[in-house]
């Protein structure tokens, strides 16, 4: 492709926009990946934890004597000993969330109290994992059981036993109420008010690789070197330095390949702090690899919320406003729940035009696993809104698609903002709804549905629409903070290749491919000549890592701009070497060439060598062929789309078959369509799992009941249907960067889409669906063929 047409910059699109094969794959397909469990260090020891078998108890006594003399045991730490070595505090996101929220006081390993099943009580370090687990069994812990608080409802009862003594109750936050628009006036003017109680069950991330850490402290240098399974190496470094009270510059964190995360692996967990503390104490490398039971029981769980909603509507189906009361069950230890209150509140209007919102939130502490981020952590707003719209439609006897189209905001028309504030610039909800309805051929489906019902077969169609801040349109008058900027470093190497250093920490998102695509196009070099370095605090710029669907816009944009800046520097140097103006030069395929064929061309190797040597260049020219770029996100923008599911419910067995699943998606300009579609389909699969299979289940005594993959059911190849994807054309908000994140949307909108389809299928039975987990037994209860 000719570069000259663009005048200044090479035309993007040689690699960007193509399903370039992943550079990660040659190692991953041959067993040569390097996950944290694959790290081998000389003298490395192995850690295992003794964990609480009860949800809530006083720890009376921990007897570690027998374990200390067990074969192969190098050290045992109980809670008191660990408290001397490391500070607690910080949950999976490093911070007990939220302004005005008092932090619970607790320790890295339990000392006086266990607060959830699997709470770590002691740490054994031994020559092998086998020996460490053997020794764990020799540790005697005496508990005095306390009443377990296993639901938010119990937690909000002032008579419940406070889980954290310093808080005095089990209410972590709230109730707090925020109002937008004139709520009372809107409700006074409504023709009717539709109410619903909607619930969202506990999900969990379940990455195929659990958590893990190898910590290696060298007493001679005072340096702690850590290999982690994480979404961001700098967060691990900062948390370990703070919690172990060692200087930041003495901590070095690296990460290799990461076996998935979906929000789980931010910051450091209590276990990871304990393992690093053990290495510090012993002066030897210590490794801990979480097993699946630990992962399911204690790594964290997500999304347990209940909502009381009132919707003010007109008789024609205009949704004027909402009153929402939300209670979050945040589990036992600090997590992200308090931080999410604001996001759920802000996002609940979605792409709709409503004029008023009152939102009340309460965060409760219970004796369950801590609340962690899971792919679209605020997603219950979409579940509630999209299910509510179908309930409103049912009450009015109208088709839900009509109600959605009637209420959805239209790009360029008022209101230009959500009632909660964010701009609706670039929104394509109307287009995606109309396109999905057309592709599914709604009218002919309704005919088919009617005929099927006459045969005793129950088909249903459901839609859901969403917007996702990826990173959201930016207001021109808002300046992003330094933490919100995306830092990126890029340099031309002496061999003529380009290296990109990014704070992104891919764990399936393929940034080593996508960022190389963007860099290749905008610098002017073959894709294979770009290397993307990730996961090393000594090398990569500051940044929080990968999450929140930020990477496409933020890292993609930083790469684009850095590549252009580096290109300009290289052309300045090259112009000196071949005695011409830089504006006449281009980099094409790794060569610097002039538009005029008479001028000689020069290789990037020659440019790099001349810049390093300097003797052929005039003084004052910038010879450092490296750039550091901080990107503010440009104009930003929404990702979004509409999903549609067609299902058949077998009313004899309660089984749901997804006959068709359609996604109409807008994530702006795609860097790599195959990678985008992989993100969308993976998210939808998790949403299908959440509705039909997955649930983090607890008994009334707080016992965790889904601690294996035979109990916590993940979707398999026979559960997930073909997922059709149609991409909408990009609305360009930014002159240069219109890549938008796509990591979370599938998981955000698939649950209400499927729930709506199931509700539609079961409409003849008068079934009203207000919960998200709909396994066969529950559907039979709702249909009435089985007693609840």
């Amino acid at each position: 492709m000719s570069d000259s047409k663009s005048g200044v910059f090479p035309v993007a699109g040689r690699f960007t926009g193509s399903p370039v094969r992943r550079s990660e794959d040659p190692r991953l397909l041959t067993g040569r990946g390097m996950y944290v469990d694959d790290i081998r260090l000389p003298g490395m020891l192995h850690a295992a934890f003794v964990r609480s078998p009860m949800a809530h108890a006083v720890v009376l006594r921990v007897d570690t004597k027998a374990a200390r003399s067990a074969p192969g045991v190098r050290a045992v730490f109980d809670g008191q000993e660990m408290a001397q070595l490391a500070k607690a505090g910080g949950g999976p996101l490093g911070d007990m969330g939220g302004e005005g929220v008092e932090s619970p006081i607790f320790t890295v390993l339990a000392t006086d109290r266990v607060r959830m099943m699997g709470d770590p009580v002691a740490l054994v370090v031994a020559d092998s994992r086998y020996l460490a687990e053997d020794a764990c069994e020799l540790i005697q812990v005496e508990y005095q059981e306390l009443p377990a608080v296993t639901s938010a409802e119990q937690a909000l009862d002032p008579r419940s036993t406070p889980i954290f003594a310093n808080l005095g109750s089990n209410v972590l936050q709230g109730p707090t109420t925020e109002r937008f628009g004139d709520v009372e006036a809107v409700f006074a003017s409504a023709d009717r008010v539709v109410t619903a109680s909607l619930t969202q069950h506990r999900h969990q991330n379940v990455p195929m690789e659990g958590r893990g850490i190898v910590a290696s402290f060298d007493p001679a240098t005072g340096e702690l070197r850590v290999n982690a399974s994480t979404q961001g190496v700098h967060g691990v470094r900062e948390a370990l330095a703070a919690q172990l009270d060692i200087p930041l510059e003495k901590v070095h964190v690296r990460a290799g390949d990461i076996g998935g995360s979906f929000g789980l692996k931010f910051g450091v967990s209590r276990e990871e702090v304990a393992v690093a503390a053990a290495s510090l104490k012993l002066g030897l490398p210590v490794r801990w690899i979480e097993d699946r039971n630990e992962n399911l029981t204690v790594s964290g769980q997500a999304r347990e919320e209940s909502f009381e909603v009132e919707a003010a509507i007109t008789k024609d189906g205009d949704i004027l406003g909402l009153k929402v009361k939300m209670v979050i069950d945040a589990g036992a230890y600090p997590g992200v729940a308090p931080m999410l209150v604001g996001t759920i509140r802000q996002m609940i209007p979605g792409p709709y035009r409503m004029e008023a919102l009152s939102f009340t939130a309460t965060v409760a502490i219970t004796n369950k696993a801590s609340y962690v981020a899971y792919r679209g952590p605020w997603a219950s707003e979409t579940w509630v809104r999209e299910r509510l719209i179908d309930l409103i439609s049912a009450e009015l006897g109208r088709d839900p698609m009509q109600i959605r189209l009637r209420n959805v905001a239209v790009r360029g028309e008022p209101p230009l903002r959500m009632v909660t504030g964010p701009s609706l610039a670039g929104i394509t909800a109307q287009e995606s709804l109309q396109r999905a309805a057309a592709l599914i051929d709604l009218d002919s489906f309704r005919e088919r549905q009617e005929l099927a019902r006459q045969e005793g077969r129950y088909l249903g169609v459901g839609f859901g629409t969403f917007i996702e801040p990826a990173p959201g349109p930016r207001d021109p008058d808002e300046t992003p903070s330094e933490e919100e900027m995306e830092q990126l470093r890029m340099r031309l190497e002496l061999d003529g290749t380009v290296t990109v250093f990014t704070s992104q920490m891919p764990h399936g998102q393929s940034h080593q491919t996508t960022l190389a695509q963007v860099a290749a196009d905008h610098f002017g070099i073959p894709f294979s000549q770009v290397k993307v370095v990730v996961g090393d605090t000594d090398m990569v710029p500051m940044g929080f890592g990968t999450g929140g669907s930020r990477s496409a816009t933020m890292a993609g944009g930083a790469t684009l701009h850095a590549a252009r800046a580096l290109r300009a520097k290289v052309l300045e140097v090259a112009a000196q070497l071949i005695d011409t103006g830089p504006e006449t030069l281009n980099i094409i395929g790794g060569m610097v060439a002039a538009e005029k064929a008479s001028t000689r061309s020069i290789t990037l190797v020659e440019v790099a060598a001349a810049a390093a040597a300097g003797d052929r260049l005039p003084p004052g020219i910038d010879r450092e062929l490296e750039v550091n770029f901080a990107f503010d996100g440009g104009a930003g923008g929404w990702s979004g789309g509409t999903h549609c599911a067609v299902v058949e419910v077998d009313v004899e067995t309660g089984l749901v078959r997804v006959e068709r699943y359609l996604v109409v998606e807008d994530c702006g300009e795609m860097i790599n369509p195959a990678i985008v579609e992989g993100q969308v389909r993976g998210g939808v699969a998790q949403g299908i799992g959440a509705v039909l299979l997955e649930r983090s289940a607890y008994g009334e005594d707080g016992q965790f009941l889904s601690g294996s993959l035979m109990d916590y059911l993940l979707p398999t190849a026979t559960d997930v249907p073909q997922i059709e994807i149609e991409h909408l054309e990009t609305v360009r908000l930014d002159a240069d960067v219109n890549f938008r994140g796509v990591g979370e949307g599938g998981m955000i909108v698939a649950p209400p889409t499927l729930g709506n389809a199931i509700a539609d299928a079961l409409a003849p039975f008068g079934v009203r669906i207000t919960e998200q987990h709909l396994p066969p037994a529950r559907l039979l209860e709702l249909i009435g063929t089985m007693d609840a």
Partner: protein
């Protein structure tokens, strides 16, 4: 409860000789050591991954005498005298197998953790049934869990590998 906690000896060591990826290997292991741990720790073949250690997820699948086996549920001593094939044995002389190539071409995987188990399971399937339908492929893969992809890209890669190995079927 572990063996030692029951007062049973854990220190009896057994010799294990077997063939791994065509090479004769040996080791000395406790009876309780799983084949997965033997491969990963004693033979440094870390391509075989442990995803659940209770036989559900399939990440640790290897072929033992041509049959897929969950190496987390099999003891190393049970593999004595067997021929074991792991993910490291699929590529020959640095050349990807046609299956690996097809999975690369079709963006089959994301994080890569489940990949070894899928590739070994599919290798066994295609040995036994070179021309399965998509439904049969999905059924054969339903004991392997991938949390990233939703499976469509994996199935697509397998179907493409089948098509490329049956060129006469391509009209």
């Amino acid at each position: 409860m572990s063996l030692s906690a029951k007062g049973l000896s854990t220190d009896e060591i057994f010799q294990v000789e077997l063939t791994v990826n065509g090479e004769r290997r040996e080791g000395a292991v406790e009876a309780r050591k799983t084949l997965a741990d033997f491969l990963r720790e004693d033979l440094a073949l870390t391509g075989t991954h442990l995803g659940c250690e209770h036989g559900v997820c399939g990440a640790c699948t290897v072929l033992v005498d041509g049959e897929p086996a969950r190496s987390c549920l099999m003891l190393a001593v049970q593999a004595r005298g067997s021929a074991v094939l792991t993910i490291e044995g699929l590529a020959q002389k640095g050349e990807l197998s046609s299956l690996q190539q097809s999975m690369w071409d079709n963006h089959s995987f994301q994080c890569g953790f489940c990949t070894p188990g899928f590739l070994m399971q599919i290798t066994a399937l295609l040995e036994q049934s070179p021309n399965p339908t998509e439904g049969e492929v999905r059924e054969a893969l339903s004991g392997n869990i991938c949390r990233c992809t939703g499976y469509q890209s994996i199935v697509k890669g397998v179907m493409a590998a089948i098509a490329s190995s049956n060129p006469k079927d391509v009209s």
